[in-house]
Amino acid sequence: MSPERLGRLFWEYSDIFVHGLWITVQLSFLAMFFAMALGMLGCFGSLSRSRILRSPAILFVEFCRNTPILVQLVWVHFAWPEIVGIKFSAYTSAVIALALQSSGYLAEEFRAGIESIDRGQVEASQSLGMTYLRLMARIVVPQAVIRMIPGILNQFVTCFKSTSIVSIIAVPDLMYQANLVASATFLPMPVYTFIALIYFAMVLSISAGVRQVTKLLPNFGYFQHRRTE
């Protein structure tokens, strides 16, 4: 097939691809937003001294991390209506499933960040009369968040890639649109190659962005050579 014909083909369907990409981006951000909230709950639950909070939080986190995203997706979309009694749109199911998956990993990321803070920081705060909430808010979490940022951004990349799975419940994301175009044109090779390149370019630029952001994080006087470069 000639390059011109290919060019015309992609031009003709460009609206569909752009719309698909837009859905993909929306899903990634929405899912990550809810995943951060759920992940925080999971994190503080699993760090809690109360067993009533801790056990369900750990169960939730482990369930999210240890079930495949495809299974979570069809479970939310086809099983929840019978369990919870509410039927979600494919789009909502997709956001929920992606958020569940990411929240498990984020909860672990948050927990590891908080536990990585030296015990001496807590003891120094306590000896200065700080309550648990105050020392978490002012001393532990601010230090931990900086260590978490690279992990959160990497999870965003993973979440972005995972969105392609939602096409199987007919959410019109980039992958779904590619399927439509491929079957309408009988040209699977160029279409799938094209969207593979789009995913590749997107993920590559997000990752590059992540590396830049990581470099911009405050370093509080460590690694001073970097600033003078």
Binding site: G129, F220, G221, Y222
Partner: protein, 254 residues
């Protein structure tokens, strides 16, 4: 201001099955300085950490001013203290750690004013003035905006001492304040402790610096194996030790 008395009555502390403190009696009168010496593993660090309840105890009692700590918690006037009251109790007991434990994400000034403004509700301007005044007294006036990572160990420990003093504590606890320092930096920290930190306060200092202990302490307590082996005036304990274990410890360290 002369500090509050601290009295330990037959204090027992266990970590699991390991008994670290086995019936400790120590009396620190108001305003006095007691140095605790002894081999590592003798329980001396654990002892000071029990005084501000960083470590709970399993037996006996610790009286800190009007507060009593026992195996069931902290008590004032027969009332058991909750988490908020325990925090308030600790706010007036300064503690200096071996590893400094400055907050690395805050500047020196941030480290110093965090607890006064947040815990004591001191106005920010007043806290800043106090911080600048105290930093000058420990010869670090130019380090206000520095981060802890930009300071030497001796400078970090001096800031950590000032951080404790910002709260105007009635009692100061020092847990091997110079053990993590290079030898040439020890002097500057000891000087700040002697000239500034213990003045007008009740102080308990865990240290390996025997000459320093002799100079500043009213009494020296020698601990080994979770027990007080010997205690008395510095000259008595250091020059005329009665117990064989004290003699051999002092002989080894000199």
């Amino acid at each position: 201001m002369s500090g509050e008395p601290v009295r330990l009555d037959s204090v027992h502390k266990r970590f699991g099955k390991l008994e670290v403190l086995r019936g400790i009696d120590v009396d620190v009168p108001s305003g006095a300085t007691v140095a605790i010496i002894g081999p590592s593993g003798s329980g001396k660090s654990t002892l000071v950490r029990c005084v501000n309840h960083l470590e709970p105890i399993q037996g006996g009692a610790i009286h800190v001013g009007a507060t009593k700590i026992d195996a069931n918690g902290l008590w004032q006037d027969g009332r058991r203290l909750g988490a908020g009251d325990i925090a308030r109790f600790r706010a007036h007991i300064g503690m200096v750690f071996q590893a400094f434990n400055l907050f690395p994400h805050l500047t020196v000034l941030g480290n110093l004013i965090e607890a006064p403004t947040g815990v004591l509700r001191m106005p920010r301007g007043e806290a800043v003035d106090r911080a600048i005044d105290l930093l000058a007294k420990v010869n670090l006036p130019e380090k206000v905006k520095a981060y802890p990572a930009q300071l030497s160990g001796g400078q970090q420990q001096r800031v950590a001492i000032v951080r404790a003093l910002m709260m105007d504590p009635k009692i100061m606890l020092f847990d091997e304040p110079t053990s993590a320092l290079d030898p040439e930096l020890i002097g500057e920290v000891l000087k700040v402790i002697a000239d500034l930190a213990i003045r007008g306060r009740t102080s308990i200092i865990v240290t390996h610096e025997l000459a320093f202990a002799r100079e500043i302490a009213d009494r020296i307590v020698f601990m080994d194996g979770g027990k007080v082996i010997e205690e008395g005036k510095p000259a008595d304990v250091l020059d005329r030790p009665q117990q064989e274990r004290t003699r051999s410890f002092i002989g080894r360290i000199h």
